[in-house]
Symmetry: C2
């Protein structure tokens, strides 16, 4: 079951003026399930995105990148669950393009003004005909409906919303995400869409999506597998009436950035809380490194270790596995005699070995909690990084052994 | 259960003249279990080793490196299971040194002439007093006894033996290894000891141990975790009467190297066959790369992926997970449209997508086997690499959630 993750409150997901949502049942993988989401964007919307660095990136990722690069205003996003359209070669790209073309024709725009997204099983042909046939049947939806329409093995829909003042105007930021397995983003998560009615220039929006991804979706791992379809899109409709934020130095950039970041972090953490088979939510913080990169490297070594993750599943304060992961993180000049390791507030290791004052019952108390912070002080610099993950349970194996059946 | 791995035949494990084995019950972790192994070496023996690159390397690894570096002839190895003496700081080093000192005194040699090895739980104080007390009670043993005395979560002891002609003399090569979890060696496996009665110079022996490790123990992964204690030692007693092999260009080097390599590969594969919770043994071969490093990188991305490993556990030909792992292996200029992916002899993916002639029943037939070869042709060079691993089952989680209890 998801760890401290509630069903989003529908009434607290603020609509974003300029962004219209609709869902349809296309029967991509299952009948009678809303599996297609369309986001229609008003003409003034700006869109920026970051995508998976997996070389086997999916057909929709290739098309979305190309359509964004065309520079034409994006007028719609079309998302399906049930099939990732990945590892499908040129045929897969044609199918994704056909879906974009059908929606573009209906909306009276060019095919490049539609971005496609897919999530689900890899290496199966996408039933594009069924999606195209379902598009005209789509029904108006809100953000919670939208979050539900993009789920795969997610147990909980993931959506959140903020309103902040930007240059004297109230601005809304609302986002949804999906993803529970094959989560170890390089550039973004499985699928994340955040929309705001703020007015933001294209370059500033592109910078914001990169900055935010690096602090949110790129800090979560469930199983270390980087998906073929990871995409994170930021949409700014410009209808809030604020003066255009056209650079990261412009007034209002910081306030909007922080609101978008908070939405993205909440969604990213929700992915770890709802990680496949998760019973615990772990925050891994590494401090005192030379730079952020080495801190992240150590944090990911811990967060990816199957031995660490099974020990957390068992609530077993098997701290040696944490030390082993730190040791093999790949920092060649790491002086292990200088580092400190904490479980929440409990100092468990220092001076290259167990803290003499450490008592197993203190470690056990922390390990019994559903939320645990692992904190490593490298004591060799000023940088830090945080990564979120979940434990590794029987159910992870069950879910992934059963996924296609 | 181990995959196609039999109990070694005691009568086919040839003794190595110059190497005397003995085991004792020290009660390191459990009472009434043979948990200490001593290898006594005749005066002319030469010893070379490779060790873990984990920065949190264990006290015995630090001591073994230092004792080898002292240049004094090694006269004994002492190995305990049940406790890794890792993450134990200066106190752990003192305990390991005390064990070496006790054995050295008995044998009338210097403390630097004894190498210590430990395997088992991390971050617990090693009960050195019990080991020292048990040393005088040790009983003569053969190689199968020795293999059993170093097991931790291994189900099967791992030992094998060869005899080959080297420069007109019959030479024996016999080895043992242990390891089932926390297996992703950087320089060696958990513990591997191979002894030969060949006469080999120190420099040639050092080169041989590195070459062989790179082709055997460094090609196996169970869970991607690199141990704090990985050690692989090669002992040459010089009693076979061959002319000293004093360089890799010397007559006999190639024959001996190949015999040692074959023993090491069999032991390394045995570790994957006996991987924690293993139900399948997988060989991952990557061909046609620019260099061996990138082939190994792709092979390890596949062999480490929890999604790939759970699909193999389920006998599910979920080939998309293989493509995803290839895609995120980190080869930035990889052209996925050029690669071919085979399951045994079945071409499953080509041209960036599924092979049009591929039938699910062919993939299913291969996936149902206990031994499966995944073969990737990158089609961009002449290099290749092979890695061995096992699948990821419920039992992996159970074993690692229970390990300390």
């Amino acid at each position: 079951m998801p760890v401290n993750l509630q069903q989003p409150d529908r009434s607290r997901l603020f609509p974003v003026p300029g962004v219209t949502l609709a869902v349809a049942e296309a029967g991509v993988k299952q009948a009678k399930r809303r599996d297609v989401l369309v986001l229609e964007l008003a003409p003034a919307c700006r869109v920026a995105g970051v995508f998976t660095r997996n070389r086997f990136c999916a057909a929709p990722v290739i098309l979305s990148r190309a359509h964004l690069a065309s520079g034409q205003p994006i007028r719609a996003l079309v998302v399906n669950t049930g099939n990732a359209n990945a590892g499908t070669g040129e045929d897969g790209r044609q199918r994704a393009r056909a879906i974009c073309a059908a929606l573009a024709e209906e909306l009276g725009v060019n095919v490049e003004q539609v971005l496609p997204f897919s999530t689900g099983v890899i290496l199966e042909p996408l039933p594009a005909d069924r999606i195209i046939a379902a598009l005209p049947t789509r029904q108006h939806a809100d953000w919670l409906d939208a979050a539900e329409a993009i789920m795969t093995t997610d147990i909980m829909p993931k959506a959140t919303s903020r309103q902040v003042m930007v240059n004297g105007k109230t601005v809304t930021v609302t986002g949804i995400a999906k993803g529970a397995g094959m989560i170890h983003p390089n550039m973004a998560t499985m699928l994340g869409f955040i929309a705001t009615d703020a007015d933001v220039g294209q370059q500033a929006l592109q910078q914001m999506v990169r900055d935010v991804a690096d602090q949110s979706f790129n800090c979560v791992t469930v199983d270390g597998d980087t998906s073929t379809n990871d995409s994170f899109l930021l949409i700014a409709s410009g209808q809030a009436g604020n003066a255009t934020i056209d650079a990261d130095s412009a007034a209002g950039y910081a306030e909007l950035h922080d609101a978008v970041r908070d939405v993205a972090i909440e969604l990213a953490q929700a992915i770890a809380r709802d990680g496949e088979g998760a019973t615990k939510f772990m925050t891994v913080t590494v401090e005192g490194g030379h730079d952020r990169a080495e801190c992240k490297q150590v944090a990911y070594a811990i967060a990816r270790s199957p031995l660490v993750k099974t020990a957390f599943f068992a609530s077993d304060p098997n701290l040696g596995r944490l030390l082993a992961a730190i040791g093999y993180a790949g920092i060649d000049d790491l002086d292990v005699d200088r580092l400190d390791l904490y479980l929440d507030d409990v100092l468990v290791a220092t001076g290259g070995g167990r803290n003499p004052a450490y008592r197993e019952e203190d470690g056990q108390r922390v390990m019994n909690q559903p939320e645990i912070t692992v904190r490593v002080k490298l004591n060799r610099g000023e940088a830090s990084a945080t990564v979120w993950t979940c434990d590794f349970s029987y159910d992870y194996v069950r879910i992934n052994a059963d996924y296609r059946s």
